[in-house]
């Protein structure tokens, strides 16, 4: 909402201290987002009359305009607009004028012919956004005078207020003024016109068919209207407020809307039909499916059965309720009698219709937030009062109709307010008297007291206020948020991370320490991405995605990570080492999808053992173990270089390499080692803390054993056999060499281990070492591992 400061001052003596007023408004929740200085006359721009125009054979886009600036001298100006005629009065920027955009008008012309100034559009003068042609001034304007004098321009300020949804009343000047006057302790002076009926009965009746959507509809017939230009002051004020003056009737309609937040519409009574020769009137009903009407803006609109229409008594649609009038019943220059609509519609319906039609008007913006159903009467009187300035002969006819529907809010609403509740919520020490003095000036009239509870009348222009807490907020606003104390509550809870959160940080630290950086890919995928990654394409989809390529919720972090690798590769960063900890959303049968937190690590340019090394480090740091099963390779991973990781009966992850076909599909040229984990299994439970074992002070002894083992048997089994054979003398085991080649049978490999043996409390004997050796050989021999000599 843009508020013109001079206009606001109609309703209270607010003055012109813009900073102070801006701060006051902001502190009331009417945040001033922008302050614009308007109405300044650009010095050096004067009125001039077009004497003649002339085209130039070598310049098609410009022509030569000769003007008289009142001194009788004919000046020549090049001009790119052609909207003027001989005799028109235009604003001429004379030589040396500094324009608002910083340009200085110079003599420099075109084709070697000087220009003695520039003719200006409204945009160039900072008066509007119209740059389609030169601004045409009133034809009787004196020449050679500042254009601002002709237009009655006065320097003014436009305050751009960002209104929250709970303040529909502030879509009118009076609402803003009421709050501000109360805050500053000034007298509030809203208009208080009274309506006098001056003519005999002339009725445009009202029939509300759908009262659930239309709570009130008044129709007042006014004759003796002469459509013409508005009074200067009104045209200037509307223009300064950013609204184009059109005609006295339309301007008054807009003025009342801006002033009192009451959208309204004037129909040409002569165009309204009645049923079969009956009297004209209004019928407010829901549209039928696919019914059509042409709105004021010339667009044909098609309705659904949820759109509320204003029809005439012959049931012909003449307006979209609360949004926009129809073209056929518009006021024209010939109009002499109008039927004035002022109405209240259920806000939600207006919002939905405006949304459905993509049609936002000044009226719909107000109606969908909720206007004052009981402000209508003052608004009618104000309309008549203002129109009478240009139509002194107008007649207000008896027989005005005032239809009511079931959705009409109660006129007198109230709620209880406990002083103790105000202070309990705000932490203040306000008394009933304090509260009364804060609420009364904004129309929340307090009665009762001094004992609890007070009764507070809820004004009809504040539909957002229905209960006690709403009034507490009003008290807080007018008391001042900055006068509420500041105190840090004494938390009786000890602040900490949960086990899962602590372990997630540990996991992240381990991965960072391993030189792996954190990625955050988009969790939305294209419909075919999962399949490209070798994953089950069953997924939850977004029903209203921004783009189809981001319409599916990921069930795995893998596709995003592969895209990250491909992105880095394509920017000459091979060897990307990335991890992500993030949610995935597989479909589920429950109230929500089976969402869980996952980890994916990708090591570009690395092979499966690198992923195993990361897994071992993570497992050791987090104190978790998992069964490795190379016979169960998850889809999308390298069939002979990957394994599932199982904890108990559940598959908790996978480790290995990405399937080359998947890499191809993602245009990744490097090998990619990968680790995937379902973090619920890994982070939720804290293992017992590692228990101390004494570091032996006795000497240790190393034993090297190399075994030949068939390729079909995992080295892990040999590892286990050695641990079992060595028993508790083993303190460290290292697989230091894997060899395939001459000396080892085809289909087998040599695995060389170094065992470090140590007793806790004594020196080892040769017999100890020999018995470990024998036990290891025996344990390994059970599955065919043979000691190499």
């Amino acid at each position: 909402m843009k508020i013109l400061l001079s206009w606001l001052n109609e309703y209270g003596d607010f003055g012109d201290d813009v900073d102070r007023l801006s701060d006051a408004l902001t502190s009331l929740g009417l945040a001033v987002e922008n302050v614009e200085h308007v109405g300044a006359t650009v010095p050096g721009v004067v009125t001039a009359r077009v004497v003649r125009t002339e085209s130039h054979p070598d310049a098609a886009k410009v022509h030569r305009v000769y003007v008289d600036a009142g001194d009788g001298v004919e000046r020549h100006v090049w001009c790119g607009a052609f909207n003027m005629q001989v005799g028109d009065v235009l604003p001429l920027a004379t030589l040396g004028t500094e324009m608002p955009n910083g340009m200085t008008i110079s003599r420099r012309g075109i084709l070697g012919i000087d220009s003695e100034g520039m003719l200006c559009s409204t945009l160039e003068l900072g008066l509007g956004d119209d740059h389609s042609g030169i601004m045409i001034l009133p034809p009787d304007a004196p020449l050679g005078v500042p254009y601002g004098e002709v237009l009655g321009l006065r320097p003014d300020v436009l305050l751009d207020i960002d209104l929250t949804r709970n303040r529909p009343d502030c879509w009118g000047y009076v609402g803003v003024a009421r709050d501000l006057a109360a805050h500053l302790g000034l007298e509030f002076r809203p208009p208080t016109p009274t309506l006098a009926v001056t003519g005999g009965e002339l009725v445009a009746g009202v029939e509300i068919v759908d009262g659930d959507r239309c709570g009130r509809f008044t129709s007042t017939v006014i004759s003796g209207v002469r459509v013409g230009p508005s009074a200067d002051w009104m045209a200037q004020r509307l223009r300064a407020a950013g609204m184009r003056p059109i005609s006295n009737v339309v301007d008054v309609s807009n003025y009342v809307m801006l002033e009192l937040n009451q959208p309204n519409h004037a129909y040409d009574l002569a165009t309204l039909r009645g049923p079969e020769g009956g009297p004209p009137g209004f019928r407010i009903r829901l549209a039928t499916e696919a019914e059509t009407m042409t709105t004021l803006d010339g667009e044909q609109r098609t309705f659904t059965a949820d759109d509320l229409l204003i029809c005439d008594a012959a049931d012909r649609p003449i307006g979209i309720a609360g949004v926009m009038g129809g073209l056929d019943t518009e006021i024209t220059d010939a109009t002499t009698t109008v039927a004035l609509e002022m109405a209240w519609f259920a806000p939600l319906g207006i919002m939905q219709t405006a949304q459905r039609l993509g049609l936002r008007s000044e009226a719909s913006a107000r109606n969908e937030r909720g206007v004052d159903p009981y402000g209508i009467d003052v608004s009618i009187a104000r309309f008549v009062e203002l129109l009478r300035e240009t139509c002194p002969d107008l007649v207000v006819h008896a027989g005005a109709a005032d239809g009511r529907g079931a959705s009409l809010p109660d006129e007198h609403r109230s709620c209880e307010l406990r002083v103790t509740e105000v202070n309990r919520v705000l932490g203040t020490g306000l008394t009933a008297a304090d509260i009364t003095s804060l609420l009364d000036p904004i129309g929340f009239t307090v009665s009762g007291g001094p004992d609890e509870p007070l009764t507070v009348a809820l004004p009809s222009w504040r539909p957002d206020c229905t209960e006690e807490i709403d009034v507490v907020e009003e008290v807080a606003r007018h008391h001042g948020y900055d006068r509420i104390g500041r105190e840090v509550p004494k938390s009786t809870v000890h602040g900490h991370l949960s086990v899962h959160q602590q372990r997630r940080r540990l996991l992240r630290q381990v991965l960072l320490g391993l030189g792996i950086s954190e990625a955050m890919p988009n969790p939305f995928l294209a419909p075919d991405t999962a399949e490209k990654a070798g994953l089950d394409p069953t997924a939850v989809s977004i029903t209203n995605p921004l783009v189809a390529d981001e319409s599916v919720l990921r069930t795995s972090l893998r596709p995003g990570m592969l895209r990250a690798v491909a992105f880095n590769e394509s920017h000459r960063r091979t060897g990307a080492r990335l991890f992500e900890i993030g949610h995935v959303y597989p479909p589920g049968e429950g109230e929500l999808p089976d969402e869980y937190e996952a980890l994916c690590v990708v090591l570009a340019g690395d092979e499966a053992p690198a992923a195993m090394a990361v897994w071992r480090e993570v497992a050791a740091a987090l104190g978790v173990g998992a069964r490795l099963d190379q016979s169960q390779v998850p889809p999308g991973l390298h069939a002979t270089r990957s394994a599932t990781l199982s904890i108990g009966r559940d598959v908790a992850g996978a480790v290995g390499e990405v399937d080359p076909a998947v890499l191809d599909a993602f245009e990744v040229t490097e090998r990619v080692a990968i680790l995937e984990l379902h973090l619920g299994y890994v982070l939720d439970r804290e293992p017992k803390p590692a228990r101390w074992s004494a570091v032996s002070r006795s000497p240790s002894s190393d034993l090297d054993l190399a075994f030949a083992l068939d390729d079909s048997i995992p080295a892990e089994r040999l590892d286990k056999a050695i641990r079992q054979g060595a028993g508790n003398l083993l303190v460290d085991l290292d697989l230091f060499d894997v060899y395939r080649g001459p000396g080892v049978d085809e289909g087998s490999r040599s695995l060389a281990y170094r065992l470090r043996l140590q007793a806790p409390d004594r020196n080892l004997t040769d017999a100890d070492v020999a018995s470990v050796r024998d036990a290891c050989i025996a344990a390994a021999g059970k599955f065919g591992a043979r000691l190499r000599s």
Binding site: S27, A31, T164, R165, R167, M351, R369, V425, L426, T428, A476, R477, Y481, I484, G485, R486, E487, V488, P489, S491, T492, V493, G495, H496, L497, Q501, R505, R508, L512, I516, S517, E518, A519, M520, N522, P523, F524, V540, S541, T543, P545, E550, L553, A564, F567, N568, R573, A576, R577, L578, G582, H583, Y585, P587, G588, G590, E591, L592, P593, E595
Partner: protein, 337 residues
């Protein structure tokens, strides 16, 4: 004999002084001091001396000579060892700037860094960290937060809906949470007051990406519910948090605003040292209807809540001009932080 001994001793000392290597010293040690060494030979001549006094004097002289040579040998050995070590050290000279080693550490995402910093500030203020699902029900995301079906404020969230349907439910009631506020409801349902939580997390809006907006971004939400919590506690907490996070020289203020789930509602701003007020987030006293939805009696308890963007904290801290850069996973970006 004494003269001979002195000559021999001086010759030996000269040899020791001239020894050029540790090997030379070892050879001299054997030659001069051994049982059959040159100086030992003098001992054998003692018997040929006539008088006891002469023998005594000559014996003492021989021992002195042996001791002097032995000391000289030790000194020479130490000198040579030190020289050898410094020669070895000298030969190992390295230019420490000759290498271009890539940094080996990984980089946490900028959003994670801001997220953890915020968590840590609130843990210090006595808060626990709560989380919730990113795919939510309409009830938790809107209805429980005092936005019943058809509430106009719903339209301002640009919600993304998904095709999941709860058993017995109707389509169109599962969505990607538009804010972290549903975690408030889940926390109130799961915990008894006093509740002091922050809920960081990922949120979603149907927003076209540009330099300052992403459809997927992050918020942190705070909720305190206890007996006797007032708006003064809210203002004090905002002040304490902003000072802890941005530094002691920032000022904070609350100004009235509107959110369906809090009342009174406020925006909170900070004033930076340059004097500009900067809007950070929304806050307010938890609306009684929201407390009731969380199973808490608003007549017994009051609470406050606040929320703001995490991504923006990262953007401000690092002066990132385009928020989209944070989500490209470009290592050239990631490794800057």
């Amino acid at each position: 004999m004494i003269e001979d001994l002195n000559v021999a001793r001086d010759a030996a000392l000269a040899d020791v002084a001239a020894a050029a290597s540790l090997d030379d010293v070892a050879a001299l040690d054997a030659r001069l001091l051994g049982k059959k060494g040159e100086l030992a030979a003098f001992k054998r001549q003692l018997g040929s001396l006539a008088s006891v006094d002469e023998r005594k004097a000559a014996g003492a002289a021989v021992n002195e000579a042996l001791a002097a040579v032995s000391v000289a040998l030790d000194e020479r050995r130490a000198e040579l060892a030190a020289a050898a070590r410094s020669a070895a050290v000298e030969s190992e000279r390295l230019d420490l700037t000759e290498f271009t080693a890539r940094p080996a550490r990984g980089h946490a995402h900028v959003v994670t860094q801001a997220w953890e910093r915020l968590e840590d500030v609130f843990i210090g203020l006595g808060y626990q960290v709560a989380e919730g699902p990113e795919v939510e029900t309409d009830w938790f995301n809107f209805e429980a937060l005092n936005m019943a079906d058809g509430h106009p404020a719903r339209g301002e969230f640009d919600t993304l809906f998904v095709d999941h349907v709860a058993p017995g439910g109707t389509p169109g009631h599962t969505l990607l949470r538009t804010h972290t506020s549903p975690v408030q409801i889940r926390a109130m349902q799961a915990m008894e007051p006093p509740i002091y939580i922050v809920a960081p997390g990922r949120v979603f809006r149907r927003d076209t990406p540009d330099a300052t907006h992403m459809p997927v971004f992050h918020q942190i939400e705070g909720l305190v519910v206890d007996r006797g919590i007032t708006m003064a506690h809210l203002a004090g907490t905002i002040e304490a948090f902003t000072k802890a996070f941005f530094g002691g020289n920032v000022e904070s203020r609350l100004r009235p605003s509107y959110f369906p789930f809090t009342e009174p509602s406020a925006e909170f701003d900070i004033r930076r040292p340059n004097g500009d007020w900067l809007e950070l987030g929304g806050c307010g006293m938890v609306h009684p209807a929201v407390l009731r939805a969380g199973g808490i009696d608003p007549e017994e308890y009051t609470g406050f809540a606040f929320g703001f963007g995490i991504d923006r904290m990262a953007v401000m801290r690092h002066q990132i001009a385009d928020i989209r850069d944070m989500y490209t996973n470009d290592l050239r970006f990631v490794e800057q932080f």
